[in-house]
Symmetry: C2
Subunit: 196 residues, 2 copies
């Protein structure tokens, strides 16, 4: 089966529609998806940003929210905005995601995005994350403990460094082999490439 | 006839495929296009940038050239890269474009983009611009003189200020009424909106 790497950050607005759409599109195309959460913070920091560029550059930020609304509307994806807080802190969710196997990471990730962008919940709160885990039938205490283990923290750090090393500068990003596709707008094209 | 404003900058890489495609797509849809050249320099300067973000952020720049190649290949648009210089200085070309009427601005603009991205010519050189004007049957000396007239310089300054005032932060941008669409990726959607 052809393979597509899906690199995403839980705080990233355009990663939301990509996360909600990727599984269906990939299955239709016979492409398997490897879910690879990472952190944009260190990547933005290396570019000299200490905040989302959508906050640093207000005209770009205002446009992004309008554009995201059009995208979500076109794909029937719920979006409630403005969010209570932007960007949210996706560190804990990313650490949990990394502890989950292929069978659960997609469901967990979609639920975190929904909590962030459709339910205005704080995804850095243990209560939010424990609720999501419980609904998926996952032992929340065990998952949170595994997420905070030093080797798992290191795993996320390495994953973020791998992202940077492979040319990723934003999210969502898709990688097929060595070829990079950036942005929700490139999802369909990346899937086509994965099939080739 | 429905109307679409096409805001573009001659140095902008993604404006190139948009400029080469817009007329055909708009005509097929029964949408008229108003070509509105402006300068990104003052807009980037207001964001604290003294160069193209594709130079300031190298990972983003490397990706952009790969992505542009894919786009141009998909649309059979010639692209020769890396360019001799990036970004080029599009000031003079924008001033000339502003002196041309609706019948000629599209042809002139496409020829300038071709000189920039397919022929590696310096579009700030009078010889490049005079050659383009001559091939279009336009008196080059008169056009260059009109371009340098104080009222025309002011016109471009005002056009750039209008862009900023209407929320434009990059190029290409498309405006339908008050609705902004940013990027070559949004050209088709902007045309659909103009028809509504």
């Amino acid at each position: 089966m052809a393979a597509l790497e899906f690199w995403y950050e839980f705080a990233s607005t355009y990663s939301y529609p990509a996360a909600m759409r990727i599984q269906g599109l990939a299955e239709d195309a016979g492409v398997s998806v490897r879910w690879r959460p990472f952190l944009l913070g260190p990547i933005f920091a290396a570019q000299g940003w200490n905040d989302s560029p959508f906050n640093i550059y207000p005209a770009k930020g205002r446009y992004m929210w309008c554009d995201l609304e059009r995208i979500c509307e076109a794909h029937d994806i719920p979006l409630v905005q403005p969010p209570a807080r932007f960007p949210q802190n996706g560190l804990k969710a990313a650490r949990i995601a990394l502890t989950l196997g292929d069978a659960r990471i997609a469901d967990f990730s979609r639920a975190v995005y929904t909590a962030n962008f459709a339910q205005q919940k704080d995804i850095s709160h243990d209560a939010t994350l424990a609720g999501i885990l419980a609904r998926l039938g996952i032992d929340a205490d065990a998952a949170l403990a595994a997420a905070h283990a030093p080797e798992n923290k290191e795993k996320l750090k390495n994953q973020t460094e791998e992202a940077m090393g492979r040319g990723i500068f934003g999210a969502p990003s898709f990688i097929v082999g060595d070829e990079l596709f950036w942005g929700n707008d490139r999802l369909a094209e990346a899937i086509v490439r994965a099939k080739q």
